[in-house]
Symmetry: C2
Subunit: 319 residues, 2 copies
């Protein structure tokens, strides 16, 4: 069985299409892996790239990719809604098929060392690749962001896993990790009030007593002129999508605010959609039918209100 990993590098440019094109160039038309998607977000000023395929081929392409980012992005002038600590903010490896988590940790270590040696950018290993307990959670490492990292990295406990106690002056630092699949998921609200999205995010996220596997915060989409609750669903089997959406809908009701649509950033496992569709079918007393991936994608749009969605956002459609 061929080894398949998902790799989801994020970089801190989501507005200038010209720069974005240059940056993702090294991922295009390569043998051994697929460039599944490039998702720029102007408000977040960040682009999420999704790669799927042979881990060794992906690792090879990551070096010229970081080189391009280094040419195109200067973090001293970059601004956006999404928290970030580097021009490439994170590079996570996710085991999909024929590959273990331990192997993904090794890929993270290998590319981390390579990037540091090639470009003198400090690397923090996170999630399953973390070598210290306080580095498991990305938000803990990223706290202070690019601007705060200049001082933070001088502390002994924030010595990078690869590199010196000094950020790269224009690039910052990168978090490189291995982790289980998570779903980057946003719920759109028809309000522009930050307070409402903040309060709902606080209610659903595990760190303040909400659902155990949810990390969430508010974000304003300037172009669309509304707030969203932006989140990571760390375990969709324990915290199903429908449950989170229905809870957000319930909480929004007290403000006379509605959930208008939802958004998946990057890929989503088929099983995560199916589990939520099953809820809505069962709630209406309907049997759950046999469905093709295309049918599932259609239902995701119509029943779960996923916007800007198509079948290729489902992991299995790219394999």
């Amino acid at each position: 069985m061929p080894k398949i990993v998902q790799c989801v590098p994020n970089f801190s440019e989501g507005r200038n299409q010209d720069k974005i094109n240059k940056i993702v160039e090294p991922f295009k038309g390569q043998d051994g892996f697929k460039l599944v998607s490039v998702e720029p977000d102007a408000d977040y000023n960040r682009t999420v790239v999704t790669l799927l395929g042979d881990p060794n081929k992906i690792i090879e392409a990551l070096i010229p990719f970081v080189g391009k980012v280094l040419e195109e992005i200067d973090m001293n002038v970059q601004k956006g809604e999404h928290p970030r600590m580097g021009a490439v903010d994170v590079i996570p490896f996710i085991p999909i098929e024929g590959v273990t988590m331990d192997e993904c940790v090794k890929y993270a270590e290998e590319i981390g060392e390579n990037i540091n040696q090639s470009f003198d950018i400090p690397i923090f290993l996170y999630a399953e690749a973390a070598r210290q307990k306080r580095r498991i959670k990305l938000p803990t490492i990223r706290k202070g962001e690019f601007e705060g990292m200049k001082e933070k990295i001088k502390e002994e406990k924030w010595t990078p896993d690869f590199g010196e106690n000094k950020i790269h002056p224009t690039f910052g630092v990168i978090g490189i990790g291995a982790r289980n699949p998570l779903i980057a998921f946003n719920i759109d609200l028809d309000t522009a009030e930050n307070k409402i999205a903040s309060s709902i995010a606080k209610i659903i996220r595990g760190s303040s007593g909400g659902f155990g596997y949810i990390q969430a915060g508010p974000a304003f989409l300037e172009k669309r002129n509304h707030m969203q609750v932006t989140m990571n669903i760390l375990d969709y089997k324990k915290n199903a999508i429908y449950r989170i959406v229905e809870t957000v809908r319930m909480e929004a009701k007290r403000y006379q605010v509605n959930v208008t649509s939802c958004e998946v950033v990057g890929l989503i496992p088929k099983d995560a959609i199916v589990r939520s569709l099953q809820y809505y079918y069962a709630s209406e007393g309907k049997a759950f039918p046999e469905m093709s991936l295309e049918d599932i994608a259609e239902d995701a749009k119509n029943i779960l209100n996923f916007r800007d969605f198509d079948v290729f956002k489902i992991i299995e459609a790219n394999m």
Copy 2:
């Protein structure tokens, strides 16, 4: 300011009214504290007593109370839906007014030592009164229940805080603790299927990824012939009642099951009801009115569907 604690002893008899009357006799007509309620449950075969007032007076009355229980209950023949490790299962002290948590810990220690010396019943200190980390959570101590405790107590790590490594042969052991107010809350479902209540309980409880401050399980009410999701709400400010009820309602929907009513065991702070009423008023776009305690109790019955409820279930109505 007079010191006011709430003390909620539970004993393992909920069917024989004659025995229950004899057992609670020492709490009746006493100076310095009020016997707020005696709530027997035949299915659980357990009675919850709520006392409110001067901690020293309550401690005095607890000794003859335990004496009565020792006369009336033999755990070798007791059976019921509620897990239990002793004829008196737990005695928690809760600070209400003019008293600190540290003082409540001291009351727990004092009565624990007294009961052990008077009746040779082993005592485990739990929650804020716990002297070991593994004794903080009551379910960890209680695991194995009365029947399993015979062997468990012989292990060195389960040496009681007061007493020998040997249960009382007819009484078992008691958990005595100090804790913040919790709400013992049950949500009635119009189904008799354990699987449905179990699956919903698992979804909402913190230990399996649900809401952080909820402990929950299924229970069957034989007399009423339906299941309920029975729970402790450990922090109603973080996990509001309305949110739990609405989530249970949402999850029940997939089974075509309804939430028919809710039940508060023991007392509930006024603030916990008000916070949930505010949600429903706001959801309907109505301003929240000035309300007396009686009005709040009425709304709790009509809007929150609390059954068997009256104003004296609200802590503040007893002070």
